[in-house]
């Protein structure tokens, strides 16, 4: 262990690989600003929401990309637009509602108004006021509304999910995700219409990357989430795979319970603690669905903004919304499919209780992220270890590896150190 205790100006990697991660990547505000620029605003497609959240013309949802406020809105033509929530005039975040329906966007400060594509429509007193037979004030003659719209983002939709990017040059969404991950994306979003079930929202006092790492870390679920183990949802002998895209930025943790997803109550699989029983066993009333094609859980990270979750019958997106280097909001959108039976909708809702800020297995993720951040802030010259399964990076057919974390930081270094 290093005795070096001076605090470097920026993250220092003490070897060529990424098996030791400097704490500084989590504690440095300058690094954070650079991440926002390079990982959220350039080159990357970020999650904004589900089409099912804005079914009607004029429906909108306010959300963020990185730390920029944006609005996802269904226009008068039915197309989905994403615009930046900053007035072209004096820069106000004009939209304050989280969800709503609008015919136009109006900034309350000076009533500049925009159509639902973000084009500037009207500027109060653009031509001045008439006084004593004269026209006074107003915008210069060469003022062109077309030059002063809201920032309009590129939008990609696939399987009912909406992504956007500020980067007009970024590769296509499909190329961004890559064929390896697209396979799992399309498994969950296979063209069936989605049905919105509800939200959970929590603020986690830790660096946003820790949430990506949490879902690239198959080491912890059986150790931290004792609830999973106790009730038989996680077993060390589950068949499992870790897969990445070619850049190693996105990943999927794929696992299949030997029992094909049936719960302990119906199959007699013994839990770790035989004497512990759920008061309401319906939390684990798992029903195998044809679209799974085997895996009972697939946890995907689409870097940098979203986690796509299938844990047995619970399906959700988890949106990472940074606010500073040491905090992020984590927004869960639970959904189902339009052709779900009422029983299946109930089942998905019940199983959603396993997750989220008060969930049986993910309240603890928020806590360990907070405590990790505390450790980093206390010792910013130090580094963490990610050597499980070796120091190299590659897909595996087991869960005892931190290869996905090493892969993410290999990509991170390429983006951040050029």
């Amino acid at each position: 262990m290093s005795n070096e205790t001076h605090i470097p100006m920026r993250p220092v990697w003490d070897q060529p690989d990424t098996s030791r991660i400097p704490f500084k990547v989590y504690t440095d505000e300058q690094t954070h600003q650079k991440e926002l620029e390079k990982l959220f605003y350039q080159n990357h497609w970020c999650y904004v929401g589900l089409e099912a959240e804005i079914p009607e013309h004029g429906d909108f949802k306010r959300t963020v990309i990185g730390e920029r406020s944006v609005i996802m809105v269904r226009g008068a033509d039915g197309e989905i637009n994403v615009v930046e929530n900053v007035c072209a005039h004096r820069g106000m975040r004009f939209c304050r509602k989280k969800h709503g329906n609008a015919k136009e966007f109006v900034c309350p400060y000076h009533q500049w108004n925009y159509d639902l594509k973000g084009n500037l429509q009207g500027v109060p007193f653009r031509r001045g006021v008439k006084q004593d037979g004269q026209v006074k004030g107003g915008m210069p003659k060469d003022f062109k509304p077309a030059d002063h719209g809201l920032t309009q983002l590129r939008v990609a939709q696939r399987g009912g999910v909406v992504f956007a990017t500020f980067d007009q040059e970024a590769e296509s969404f499909e190329d961004f995700v890559g064929p390896e991950m697209l396979h799992y994306f399309d498994r969950m979003f296979n063209g069936r219409k989605l049905k919105l079930l509800g939200y959970n929202k929590q603020r986690i006092p830790g660096n946003w990357k820790l949430m990506m790492e949490n879902i690239k870390d198959p080491y912890h679920p059986g150790l931290l989430h004792t609830w999973f183990v106790t009730f038989g949802l996680w077993r060390a002998d589950n068949r499992s795979e870790l897969k990445m895209d070619k850049h190693h930025r996105h990943a999927a943790m794929i696992s299949t319970r030997g029992e094909g997803g049936k719960n302990a109550q119906t199959t007699g699989v013994s839990s770790f603690k035989e004497e512990m029983k759920l008061h309401d066993p319906r939390f684990l009333d798992v029903e195998v669905e044809p679209w799974w094609n085997g895996p009972t859980a697939v946890m995907m990270t689409l870097f940098p903004s979203v986690i796509l979750q299938q844990q047995v019958n619970s399906v959700s997106t988890r949106h990472i919304q940074p606010n500073g280097h040491d905090s992020f909001d984590f927004v869960w959108t639970h959904f189902g499919y339009e052709d779900d039976t009422e029983e299946m909708t109930e089942r998905r809702l019940r199983q959603a209780n396993l997750f989220g800020p008060a969930g049986f297995v993910s309240a603890d993720d928020g806590e360990v992220i907070e405590f990790s951040q505390e450790g980093f802030e206390q010792k910013p010259f130090h580094r963490s270890l990610a050597e499980l399964g070796g120091r190299e990076i590659g897909d595996t057919d087991h869960m005892v590896s931190e290869t996905l974390i090493r892969g993410m930081y290999e990509y991170w270094r390429k983006q951040m150190e050029d």
């Binding site: 015919k103 009533q111 429509q121 009207g122 500027v123 109060p124 007193f125 031509r127 008439k130 037979g133």
Partner: protein, 104 residues
Amino acid sequence: MSDNWIKVTALDEIPDDDVIGVSVEGRQIALYKYEGEVFATDNVCTHGQALLSDGFLEDGEIECPLHQGRFCIKSGKAMCDPLTEDVRTYDTRVDGEEVLLLIG
């Protein structure tokens, strides 16, 4: 309903190819003189809180000063975004030097 023609202003109160606002029986009315003829509409825009008489009359259309929505002064038709609703028009008549308005 019987015709109810009301004197609203003297003809020369309305400048040529321009608009003024008047109040008639509690209603705010915009009066236009365009190519020698007089037209009338409601004065409050159907979109924002603004008086059309503060706007600009061009080519037979009144442009609202607030958000540049334009109405045809003859038909009241909303000609462009952000307008979604036409504005009400009124029949007018010139009797000598007086402008009369038909309030239905």
